[in-house]
């Protein structure tokens, strides 16, 4: 049996210590996390003797002691995208996501898998640990020592006996897990596309749809986003995998759920959102195929037909066979996903109302994926960073600005799939935002071309642009966003 503390697919793990109260621990864990982040930030911004810093350290000491008193143990562990306190997975919520990201980031920076805090911990020990976090971030230890070993040695030298570090999991198991996660993401993606295809074809032919399959597909996407966001997000860069409408629906579902996660939505809400996103274009099932798949530009009449798809989606969803209750939330999102926040756009609104929150969110995900994709009637996709810039800066687009900000927050300056030229004359494909949010311009990149123009076959070589050489200089820096076509690269291949 696998390690009992490792999160597995389709089931989350949370184990309280015997007799412990889960909600109390969750609350205490959350408080501890916030205080840890608060103290680290204070040390970064103010001198040690500053009252704010002192108070933040007091808070941290107090919250750690509270957990130790209640649980007789305290361990903060990072696994994948999750943080555990005494084996209880902490929920990412709106009011803790910044702290969450920062703590995850610092653990990754130093290669820490777990931090055990023993009874008798002193405030001075926290101060030492956090000062090291602040002072050593971005620095390369001398003598080829790993950052983890360097940190541990400094802690020991400073007399921090009650703080015990464990390195992050590495080695074959990790690689196998990563590969298994990638395979799971691919299965989820292809399942999503197959289900979308079945639903849309069913709608086109007037056949009943399998709601169960749809639920399973969306639930699987939610699970993937929660446990393995990078892999599933990478798959959204695949083009020409199947008809655009199907892959686009799945991509919008993935982006929407990922933004929803970023915004702190709970699992059930992520499902509601994901389902609505997956069905947002179902009206295209009633657009004639010769218009839908037409190569080149559409004439005015064809655009009119195309622009009918939101309301055609409404009619389709109201009449969807196989559904007990009409999926009203999906109806609303299908109707509103091409509307602007002021309700202009299409279709025309007569009865006064507000654009739904999920419609705003799906609209942002839809706009991003559509613009970055080569469609039959849009032969040149726009670079992801340019799309984000346009969505953010052009108010005439009518997107909800906070939702766009959440998308940018999710994707980073260089969204997944962006093709970049590095100062080393290498070319790569952005594989994910840097786990450390302070490195927003230094994503993880899969190298596709070496400095001599040699091809690194997919999946390429994964590098972290935050990596530094012995002199403290970054090893690689992006100098330009480029088009993959120029180098004969197919971005999606680097994620498959």
């Amino acid at each position: 049996m696998s390690d009992e503390k490792r999160p597995a697919s389709r089931a989350s793990v949370a184990i309280t210590s015997a007799g412990g109260d889960e909600s109390a621990l969750r609350h205490a864990g959350r408080t501890l996390l916030l205080h840890l982040h608060g103290a680290q930030r204070a040390l970064k911004l103010y001198p040690l003797e500053n009252a704010t810093t002192q108070r933040a350290l007091d808070d941290l000491q107090q919250s750690a002691t509270a957990v130790l008193e209640a649980e007789q143990e305290l361990e903060i562990r990072v696994m994948g995208e999750f943080l555990f306190v005494n084996s209880l997975r902490l929920r990412l919520e709106l009011d803790n996501y910044a702290a969450f990201s920062a703590v995850l980031g610092v653990f990754r920076e130093f290669g820490i898998g777990a931090l055990r805090v023993d009874e008798g911990i002193a405030r001075r020990e926290w101060q030492l640990l956090l000062s090291l976090f602040v002072g050593q971030t971005g620095k390369v230890p001398a003598g080829g020592q790993s950052k983890f070993d360097d940190l541990r040695a400094r802690l020991e030298a400073g007399g921090a006996q009650h703080l015990v570090l464990e390195p992050e999991q590495e080695g074959q198991d990790f690689v196998e897990d990563a590969e298994a996660a990638k395979q799971a993401a691919k299965r989820t993606y292809s399942q999503g596309v197959a289900v979308t295809k079945e639903v849309m074809t069913g709608a086109r032919m007037g056949r009943a749809v399998s709601v169960k399959k749809m639920k399973r597909a969306v639930q699987a996407i939610v699970d993937q986003v929660l446990s393995n966001e990078t892999s599933i997000m990478g798959l959204t860069t695949i083009r020409d995998y199947d008809e655009y409408t199907f892959t686009h629906s799945v991509n919008v579902c993935i982006f929407s759920v990922a933004i929803g996660k970023k915004l702190g939505l709970q699992k059930k809400a992520l499902y509601d959102l994901g389902l609505a996103a997956l069905l947002h274009d179902i009206g295209k099932a009633r657009v004639p195929l010769e218009v839908l798949n037409k190569k080149g530009g559409l004439d005015e009449e064809e655009w009119k037909v195309m622009q009918a798809h939101p309301w055609l989606g409404v009619l389709t969803l109201f009449g969807l066979k196989g559904y007990g209750e009409v999926p009203y939330r999906s109806v609303i999102v299908a109707a509103e996903h091409h509307m602007k926040t002021d309700l202009t756009g299409y279709p025309r609104v007569i009865r006064p109302r507000e654009q739904g929150t999920f419609s705003r969110l799906v609209s942002v995900a839809d706009g991003y994926d559509a613009a970055t994709t080569r469609r039959s009637y849009q032969t040149v996709p726009i670079a992801p960073d340019k799309v984000l810039k346009e969505m953010w800066e052009n108010p005439r687009r009518g997107y909800d600005r906070v939702m766009v900000k959440a998308l940018i927050n999710l994707l980073g300056i260089y969204p997944v799939g962006t093709c970049v030229v590095l100062d080393t004359f290498e070319v790569g494909v952005v594989a994910g935002a840097n786990p450390d949010p302070t490195f927003i311009n230094r994503p993880l990149v899969r190298l596709a071309l070496d400095p001599h123009g040699g091809v690194l076959l997919p999946p390429g070589q994964l590098v972290d642009l935050a990596e530094q050489d012995g002199t403290g200089q970054y090893k690689r820096t992006i100098v330009k966003v480029t088009t993959p076509d120029r180098y004969g690269l197919t971005v999606g291949d680097y994620f498959v």
Binding site: K215, V314, P347, R348, I440, Y487
Partner: protein, 595 residues
């Protein structure tokens, strides 16, 4: 491998554990506990599943089954720290030992129940028996009852519960037609600016392109700097977090159905294509039963209102579609539909909000009147009753013909209600109908009709009421004579006089007799003095007409109403009558007649 548990006390149940050490597991090492412990747990779990299926949560058997199962986990956690089970078609296996064997592929076989939806491994952890046991049993129970084409299966149900101490692994049995995700077929790195077959040239072309791009960019703007970016973009500030919270609350507090329906109404207005409108009408027409079943009466009312709006606002509306819109309200007002609605209302454990009900009934047409009137006496909830009374008032005001029709329907369950309603509303136009219902075989309805006519009090109503003076039922007669007498209705003189002066006066009971005498005095006025004096004095004697003392007492009281000198003189004359009943009546009459 299952981890053995070190120590620690646990609640236990009596499990028959064989003597001797546990058998060896698949790896040759002894198992951490006897498989019988797990068998016992699963047996208990299956029993609990049956109890959950048969009893409600407040039933002691249900509760006992849950407690027993909870306790059965104790011995397991004494032996291991987690319990992994392999799911096979008809059995569950722990460490190579079959610990549950089910029978066949029925929903009673827990192993099959898990297996058929794809579950292949289960992992139970300490804690599952606390908060998650009942939800787990309920999910299994719900899954047992699901049909093949249901919207859920065991996996979707388990997912929704988000169990923390129960993990499962499954195979995707529903995945059909999924094309594996694969890399593209093209050659990576093939550039157009060099011959495809010349690998060296290809590499050089790529290298040159990269250098050009990189150098051009470096010369132009240097490398990307963090300062070039608005770092606030990457974090939501407090206001934005609050905004998101508010938006999410808004998403989950909105009336989804109403908003979705509003979109349909908008579409009907904006899309002039008749086929599209026809489709929307099909949807709308199919909706009311679902809405009513869901108790969303407000949405039904909204539909009726919107149908009227659409008739007014939709451009180029075809006659047939206009008719369909206009029929919405008529269809929902059909007696059978309203009856159904009211029955649901009576039977509902928690009725819909009164405001919603009022909204719906406000939109109904006259045909709804009869079923509402018929149901009203059965409605016990005061608020709803009052609301329905307001509804019938509105309907009767707007559709008086419907009231007339009911009054003319002796078999209608709503007849009593309609009679009372006509009286309450003083419906002049209902007099003829009330005249009809005054002939009804049921004396209760006749009395109600008389009362209604009395309330209406128009000459026509009084004329109709006159017929009630000869009714077979005393109450009806009594009510009619009192009303007609009080109003001094001359039209009734003949009938009243016939009763007073005829033999009827002696056969009626005292109350009725008195009512008729008083009515006679009021209606006939001075003309009644002489006949009444004659009756008062008809105490007997040679050649004299004889009346009973009670009748003479009634005459005395009637004379008191007339306040005429002759009447007073007659009363004075009878003041010492030998009959005590007469004497008392006369004394009272004199007091009342005193100026």
């Amino acid at each position: 491998m299952t981890e053995p548990r070190d120590s620690g006390p646990r609640a236990t149940t009596a499990v028959r554990i064989p003597a001797g050490p546990p058998p060896d597991g698949p790896d040759g090492a002894p198992l951490p506990m006897h498989p019988q412990v797990v068998e016992e747990l699963l047996r208990t779990l299956v029993k609990a599943l049956r109890a959950i299926q048969m009893y409600l949560p407040n039933n002691p058997i249900y509760q006992r089954a849950v407690e027993t199962t909870r306790a059965a986990f104790g011995p397991v956690w004494d032996g291991v720290t987690q319990l992994p089970l392999t799911v096979q078609e008809s059995s569950l296996v722990w460490e190579g030992q079959t610990v549950f064997a089910g029978d066949g592929k029925g929903s009673d076989n827990v192993a099959w129940l898990l297996y058929k939806d794809g579950i292949r491994n289960l992992l139970l952890r300490p804690g599952v028996e606390d908060e998650e046991l009942v939800p787990m049993l309920e999910v299994l129970n719900k899954a047992r009852a699901l049909s093949g084409d249901a919207e859920d299966d065991l996996l979707t149900l388990l997912w929704e519960q988000d169990f923390q101490f129960l993990q499962y692994q499954f195979v995707e049995v529903l995945q059909e037609g999924a094309v594996p995700v694969a890399a593209s077929a093209g050659t990576p790195g093939l550039v157009a600016s060099a011959p495809a077959e010349d690998l060296e040239a290809q590499r050089d072309a790529r290298q040159q392109a990269v250098r050009e791009e990189a150098e051009e960019e470096v010369q132009r703007s240097g490398v990307v700097k963090l300062e070039d970016f608005d770092s606030t973009l990457y974090f939501l500030d407090e206001n934005e977090v609050a905004y998101i919270k508010e938006r999410i609350d808004h998403e989950y507090s909105q009336d989804l159905r109403a908003n979705a329906m509003a979109i349909l109404y908008d579409l009907f207005e904006t899309q002039v294509d008749q086929a599209v409108r026809g489709e929307i009408l099909d949807i709308l027409e199919s909706f009311p039963p679902y809405l009513m079943a869901a108790g969303d009466l407000r949405a039904v009312a909204e539909m009726l209102r919107e149908a009227k709006v659409l008739v007014l606002r939709a451009r180029n509306l075809e006659g047939e579609q206009r008719d369909r819109l206009e029929r919405f309200s008529a269809v929902l007002s059909e007696p059978a539909v309203v009856q159904e609605m009211l029955q649901a209302l009576e039977e509902a454990a928690a009725p819909p909000p009164e405001a919603d009900l009022a909204e719906l009934f406000r939109e109904l047409q006259g045909t709804a009147l009869e079923p509402v009137l018929a149901a009203l006496p059965r409605i016990t909830r005061p608020g709803i009753r009052e609301m329905l009374e307001r509804v019938v008032t509105r309907l009767a005001d707007s559709y008086p013909a419907e009231v007339h029709r009911i009054l003319g329907s002796p078999e209608s369950d709503a007849l009593t209600g309609a009679v009372a309603l006509a009286g309450r509303l003083k419906m002049q136009s209902a007099v003829a109908g009330l005249g009809q219902s005054l002939q009804h075989p049921d004396p209760g309805i006749r009395l109600a009709s008389a009362q209604a006519l009395g309330a209406i009090a128009s000459p026509g109503a009084q004329q109709a009421l006159e017929k009630a003076l000869g009714d077979d039922d005393r109450e009806v007669r009594l009510f009619a004579v009192r009303v007609l007498g009080e109003r001094g209705y001359r039209g009734a003189l003949k009938a009243v006089e016939a009763m007073v002066l005829g033999k009827g006066a002696e056969t009626a009971d005292l109350t009725e007799r008195q009512a008729f005498f008083e009515a006679y005095a009021r209606i006939a006025g001075a003309q009644a003095v002489a006949p009444l004096v004659e009756i008062l004095n008809a105490g007997g004697g040679l050649f004299k007409k004889k009346a009973s003392p009670e009748t003479r007492a009634c005459a005395a009281m009637a004379l008191a109403r007339l306040k005429a000198p002759e009447a007073r003189a007659a009363l004075n004359g009878a003041a010492n009558d030998k009959e005590v009943v007469v004497r008392n009546a006369v004394a009272r009459a004199l007091r009342e007649a005193a100026p």
